[in-house]
Amino acid sequence: MTTPESKNTSFPDGYAGEDVSWGQSFGTTNILRYSQTFGGKHSVSALLGLEWGTGWDRGLGASGTGIANGIRVLSSLNPYEISSYWTETESWSAFGQAMYSYMEKYVFSATLRADASSVFAPGNRVGYFPSVSASWLISNEDFMKAQNIISFLKLRASWGTTGNSGIGNYRFYDTYSFDKAYQYEEKAGGVPQTNGNPNLKWETAVKMNVGLDVSVKNIISASLDFYSNQNRDLLLNNPNISYTSGFTGRLENIGVVQNTGVELSVTSNNIVKRNFRWSTTLNIGHNRNVVKQLANNEPLYAGTTTVKQVYQPGIPMFSWYMPKWLGVDPETGDPLWEHFVTEADLELGVYDSNEYKVGDRVPSNALNFSDSQIVGCAQPDFSGGLVNTFQWGNFDASLNLTFQVGNEVYNYTRITLDADGAYPSFNSMSLNNGLGWVRWVEDDESTHAIATHPKAKLNGNKNANGATSRYLEDGSYLRIKNLTLGYTLPSNILKKIHMKNLRVFLSFDNLYTFTKFSGVDPEVNIAGNTESNPPAGTYNSNYPKYRFYSLGVNVKF
């Protein structure tokens, strides 16, 4: 009898592995504080700090094959693989902060930090990061005390810098690697691995923020924030080096990225009665990440040969770069993409120079004649959430919705699963998915004008399943993130059973998602960099979010 452990075709006799990791870190933070009030109106405080940290991490892994049923340790197995790692880091920081406030209405503060880390080369280890902020508690002013509509009003602003050293260890050395990949005839070999950069230094983030907090009659309160952050000296792998050097990249401080946005948060106590309450909180934000500068200002591409995003100064990050899909030719059922007329086209007579000029957009049914262009962005226009809470007697309920609008998701699975016959041995997506998908069928005239899918052909139709904006879909969604219904036992019953509180609740997570996306879940990872492959915002057979139903009890003794 075989156990489930031995069902993997790569390891028909079974496989077992053990991984152990251990590490140590030591840190100390020392802070000296001072505060003093002068003349009842002026309040001053200061602090001085010193931090130091060191740590190491080690790991050991071993695995073997040929496991007998019931055995759970490695000693009876044939050795398969062993590996281990060992890294060390050390860092220190010194910082100081001073704060002054006048009459509790005006507050100013300034900070300076110096950070040092072992991941940088000698000479570049220390980074200096200042910041300042100010706030004005307007509602404490005399002219505000006269009215009683606005109960709280605060204006705040700040400008500051922070550093990031999260680049991985040892990137500035020239080293050889003895990775297993470089074994030959089962002997260990070493090859040049890292093209060291002794000029690596801290990344700096400059953050600016202006915000307003307001409360109206304790019923509605809101916060509005504008922010503009610039990340400079971004530690990116610069792939723009000649491969003839023997290397394909070097870690450099190149790149400036600007991240601006606005966030609004509004909370409203709609109904506040003795036995019934209803309040709503809305969060909504708009954010744009734009590349400001790159090495040589050459565009960088993230992604594979075909599914690409372009990083270029002035263009939002995560912009999709590929041929633009124009639909299906109603006469022939051919796929159509956009081509820009070139000088050569006019000279060779491909397009009549009396009717067309350079740069005109024309349809083409040949994929390699079509031109890549920016066809969308994986970043949303805005996103946020809406929470409604209700309380009626001893019953409570809350409904949490989240939404995202305007992001474009690349549905990578459609290259093979919606391929018009290019992959005859794969399953295909059904066109009956309520999204208005219609296939062009030669004998059925009614499909010709409204076709979204070209004529199906064994082994594919003119590369219609190539990576183009055909599979770029609107990933906007509204999701019922959570619905919770609860009941709290009344106080007289609680007293009888000697409990302080007992509440029963029913909770539903990810109840439903409203979206026009053809894949399983439009929520995809939108964080990444030029090394991301597939690029951020790609949907590729992602696991869907689970729908949870849970029943619970809160008890307080």
Binding site: N30, L50, S118, Q183, P192, T244
Partner: protein, 568 residues
């Protein structure tokens, strides 16, 4: 207050005296590797670079090398679609942004840089015998990398020495790279190989065929001389190599499955029978074979994509002598049924390619002819005639003869497919393994059969017909073809050859198919590349100097260094 000052000072001192110098434990400094003590470890790494996977498992030098060289030739039938860039190469849609040329260029220069590091720390006049041999091996590897990349990215030598060649990398990069001329690159390759021969003479191979020795360098130099049209130099070097016998392995399966030990192999890229050397997707054999059960072809199989088949023209060449061992031992069909016949011929697919019209149930008329139906249900009478003294089946269509294949019934990849499977087994079943690591191989990069054929071609160009045919017949005898199957100056013409060069080129085609020689053989001899046969590749003929045959330099390189791009 005093106490706090003391504490503060102590802390400040502790913090700033901490040690921020950390060195990795899993890597070794480049400085320490570039010494003689570590030259052996570095050399092992240099061999490994030919088959190491820097990222995606399929991105290894030897796999891309075989595909870039062979997939544009008229030997292969591309039977399926793939998102892999190899499909673009096979269908002549390749461009400068494809992943395969990018990785191939990067890995090739990694080899040139890493070998140069070792070469430059060992003096030529070193007394240490091991170090002499190590330096020779690294020179050989560097010459191999430069030569293979030149074949892919620059014009053949015979088109002119002044054409743009690749970048020469013989030391660390200190200035903006430029493309040397083809002549300069080949001069560097020749110098490296001559030095390698000098340093390795009197030495011994340090292991099995996976390691280079003096004969590997000589054989590669003979290939270089052939490409440079230095016929006599090529013949002299081949004579030297063959002076001890022709070293041909009498058993083809043994030759390819045991390439690490076969006496015919002068150098192979060795893969061990371990999991590390068998990471999914990296085997060269993946595209050529699909493994079913017990080492038989499967469709679709459990291992391997098996999308590359013998092209029909190549099969027709072999079928002239159906007992050719190269056909019987290396070619495998799927589900062959000798009791039944099928008849097929290429027709226009409407997509710029040709596909086969297959009649699985042709009617035997009993008088030596057949009846076969085409796609429109029309029946044709299939007859036989002699073309260049060899029998060929055909039917008449409007006065023209349409040639067809009459073959034992066998299977395609999918039920409605138009291409019967004909797998090549040169890259599978290493050491006879048909279950574990079944698609493993250690591709032979140099073997004595090529040396003999190089000499034959050099003789042919010098009009030494007798000597050329002797070498051709040596190859044929090993393939089990003797007696009337031999070529003589007397029977050449009747068999359709008006000069001995074409006899040599056809023998080269059959012997070295799928090993990456064909495209360059046609180009440098200024022959057309005729791909008018069934498959997913375009139905087209290319002139020998069609700029699309050479690959484009990767765009990332052009962006970074501004070197000249190849014209298209």
């Amino acid at each position: 207050m005093k106490k706090s000052i003391i504490i503060l000072t102590l802390l400040a001192v502790t913090a700033t005296s901490c040690n921020l110098d950390k060195f990795p434990h899993n890597q070794v400094s480049a400085e320490s590797m570039q010494t003689q003590e570590n030259a052996i470890a570095a050399t092992i790494g240099n061999y490994a670079l030919f088959k190491a996977t820097p990222g995606y498992a399929g991105d290894i030098f030897v796999r891309h090398n075989q595909q870039l060289h062979e997939f544009k030739s008229d030997n292969i039938l591309m039977s399926g679609k793939s998102t892999d860039a190899l499909f673009l190469a096979a269908t002549f849609q390749d461009s400068e942004v494809d992943d395969n040329v990018k990785v191939y260029w990067a890995q090739g220069y990694r080899i040139c840089y890493a070998t140069s590091n070792v070469i430059n720390v060992i003096p030529d006049d070193t007394e240490d015998a091991v170090m002499r041999h190590i330096k020779g091996e690294n020179l050989f590897l560097r010459a191999m990398a430069h030569l293979l990349m030149s074949e892919v990215f620059s014009q053949p030598y015979s088109f002119g020495r002044d054409n743009p060649g690749i970048v020469i990398r013989t030391s660390a990069m200190t200035s903006t790279p430029v493309r040397a001329t083809v002549g300069e690159v080949y001069d560097q390759i020749e110098a490296d190989l001559k030095k390698a021969i000098e340093l390795m003479t009197g030495g011994k191979r340090r292991g099995d065929n996976g390691y280079a020795d003096v004969n590997s360098a000589k054989a590669l130099l003979a290939r270089v001389y052939l490409q440079e049209e230095r016929w006599q130099d090529c013949i002299d070097l081949c004579d030297d190599l063959l002076s001890g016998g022709n070293h041909l392995d009498p058993d083809y399966e043994h030759l390819f499955q045991f390439s690490r030990t076969s006496e015919e192999v002068l150098w192979c890229i060795a893969n061990a029978m371990t999991a590390d050397d068998y990471i999914g997707g990296k085997q060269v054999g993946q595209m050529h074979y699909s493994q079913g059960e017990n080492g038989k072809a499967g469709s679709p199989g459990q291992q391997g994509w098996g999308e590359i088949y013998y092209s029909q023209p190549l099969l027709d060449l072999f079928e002239r002598y159906p007992n050719d061992l190269r056909l019987t031992t290396m070619r495998e069909k799927y589900d062959p049924n000798p009791a039944k016949k099928m008849i097929y011929w290429p027709v226009d697919s409407g997509q710029g390619t040709l596909e086969n019209n297959i009649d699985p149930n042709p009617v035997d008329n009993g008088d030596g002819t057949w009846k076969a139906k085409d796609g429109d249900g029309v029946s044709h009478i299939i007859k036989q005639e002699n073309v260049n003294s060899y029998p060929r089946w055909y039917f008449e269509d409007g006065g023209k003869h349409v040639y067809v294949s009459v073959a034992d019934s066998s299977g395609c990849r999918l039920p409605d497919d138009r291409y019967p499977i004909n797998y090549c087994k040169k890259y599978v079943h290493q050491e006879g393994n048909v279950t574990d690591y079944a698609l493993q191989s250690s591709p032979a990069m140099l073997r004595y059969a090529e040396v003999i054929l190089n000499r034959a071609e050099a003789y042919a160009h010098l009009d030494k017909v007798g000597e050329a045919l002797d070498d051709v017949n040596t190859i044929r005898h090993r393939a089990g073809l003797t007696g009337a199957a031999d070529f003589t100056s007397g029977n050449m013409a009747a068999r359709g050859y008006d000069n001995v060069l074409d006899v040599v080129l056809d023998e080269r085609r059959m012997e070295l198919c799928f090993e990456g020689f064909r495209t360059l053989d046609l180009q440098r001899n200024k022959k057309q590349l005729d791909r008018r046969y069934a498959g997913m590749q375009p139905n087209a003929v290319y002139e020998y100097n069609d700029p699309r045959i050479i690959y484009r330099i990767p765009q990332v390189e052009i962006n970074a260094s501004g070197i000249e791009q190849n014209q298209r």
